[in-house]
């Protein structure tokens, strides 16, 4: 029933099955270790999407567009309009950033919709025993993205207010410029600033991790189907029905999470350029 069966030892019970599915293919020791599955999947998806978008951009005609070009342009226009409504400065960098986030996160999330054991089975063909297919269910990915977004937000803060202006604002807003209030102001601003990447990363990670876990639990419903008892048959139909419902619901979640991540990035950037 699962990729785990191809591992050195098959899963003895549900706990082992889930633990197995939550284990990354890991290289290295301590902090200096890498999740190969996460990096491989995210790079693969990034290259495939950007490659497709790049080909659409290269072959873009001013005349009647092909179907793929029309779709890509629809996505681009949707993102551009969304960014334009929120961010009022030059958006030649922020808009492609938003596009990258939306499309990349959407596709990484979409890996959740692959049959749960399929990536593991494919990996097993290459003699790999652990393979998690959803890069956004790895906190490393979501924090990597949210910290990069934090850098972008800081960049826009400095760009809009200048270094002096931004530091001045860190110490004087929101309570006032009285020296007594400098420390409270700064602490509050620091908390506000750091809460942005944490909330961004944790929201996406939590949603995808929980989603994956629910898929695993649903998969376990049908685990005993080959025992051919009434209970196992009931469990199997439960797996099919609930798996379908959860997968359909998940289509909404993965899109929504990708959009939220993109939207909040744009909103944070827009807030960074506003003067208090």
């Amino acid at each position: 029933m699962s990729a785990a069966e191809h591992a050195t030892a098959g899963p003895a019970n549900s706990t082992e099955y889930i633990t197995h599915h939550l284990t990354h293919l890991r290289v290295g020791e301590g902090f200096w270790s890498f999740h190969v599955d996460t990096i491989f999947m995210s790079v693969l998806l990034g290259v495939v999407t950007l490659g497709l978008f790049y080909s659409a951009g290269r072959k873009a005609t001013v005349g009647v567009p092909g179907k793929w070009q029309a779709f890509v342009e629809m996505v681009v226009e949707f993102i551009d309009t969304t960014v334009k409504e929120v961010f009022h400065l030059d958006r030649s960098f922020l808009a492609p950033l938003a596009l990258t986030i939306f499309v990349w996160v959407f596709l990484m999330n979409a890996m959740d919709l692959l049959p749960l054991d399929l990536p593991g089975k494919v990996a097993a063909l290459f003699g790999i025993h652990y393979w998690r297919a959803v890069p956004t269910a790895d906190a490393n990915t979501t924090f990597a993205m949210s910290l990069t977004v934090l850098l972008v937000v800081l960049f826009y803060s400095f760009k809009a207010k200048g270094a002096g202006g931004y530091v001045h604002e860190l110490f004087t807003a929101p309570f006032g410029s009285n020296p007594v209030l400098w420390i409270p102001n700064f602490v509050l601003n620091l908390v506000e600033l750091l809460s942005k990447p944490v909330s961004l990363a944790m929201r996406l990670f939590g949603n995808m991790y929980a989603g994956e876990l629910v898929f695993m639990l649903i998969a376990l419903l049908g685990a005993g189907v080959f025992t051919l008892t009434f209970g196992s048959a009931f469990g199997f139909f439960g797996q099919v029905a609930m798996g379908a419902v959860w997968a359909i619901f998940h289509i909404l979640i993965i899109t929504l999470q990708a959009f939220i991540f993109m939207m909040l990035t744009v909103v944070y950037s827009a807030m960074a350029t506003e003067h208090h």
Binding site: G46, G57, V62
Partner: protein, 164 residues
């Protein structure tokens, strides 16, 4: 949720993706969209211009048609006038000609009549002489009796005139 160097790797990947999208994907796509928008706007403007031109052409054509109609009417009127003139002219010419013909024939008839009368008178005179000679069984000298014959001829002529 264990954080490790994967984070750094993913930041690098994300950065590269953003850079690629920023430099190579966004510009050509937005350019294509904007160019098309411009093209469509131009097309719409051209269509509107064409419509306006069509309307003004319609107006001009109407003016030309009206002018042509006026001219045609003028020409027809002129032709009518000329027709009446020609008919009048022909009528007066014909009447003059007719009158001339009637006059000349009347003259001819009068001439013919007087000539016939003269001839007749002569014939009557010679007949009267011949008749009288027969009656008298002898020659009459027309000269000696010219007065008598002349009178007779005039009487006959008077009778002819009375009956004629």
């Amino acid at each position: 949720m264990d954080i490790n160097a994967t984070l750094l790797g993913q930041m690098l990947v994300f950065g590269v993706l953003i850079w690629f999208s920023w430099k190579f994907i966004w510009p050509p796509l937005t350019k294509a969209i904007e160019d098309r928008q411009k093209k469509i706007a131009e097309g719409l403007a051209a269509a509107e211009r064409g419509q306006t031109e069509l309307q003004s052409a319609h107006g001009e054509a109407q003016v030309i048609v009206n002018a042509a109609r006026d001219q045609a009417k003028k020409i027809v009127d002129q032709a009518h006038k000329r027709e009446v003139e020609i008919v009048d002219e022909a009528r007066s010419t014909a009447m003059e000609e007719g009158k001339r013909i009637v006059d000349s024939s009347r003259q001819d008839a009068a001439q013919e009549k007087s000539r016939a009368r003269d001839e007749l008178r002569k014939d009557v005179a010679s007949l009267a002489v011949a008749g009288a000679s027969r009656l008298l069984q002898r020659e009459i000298d027309p000269k000696a009796h010219a007065d008598l014959i002349e009178q007779l001829a005039r009487e006959i002529e008077g009778g002819v005139t009375m009956h004629g």
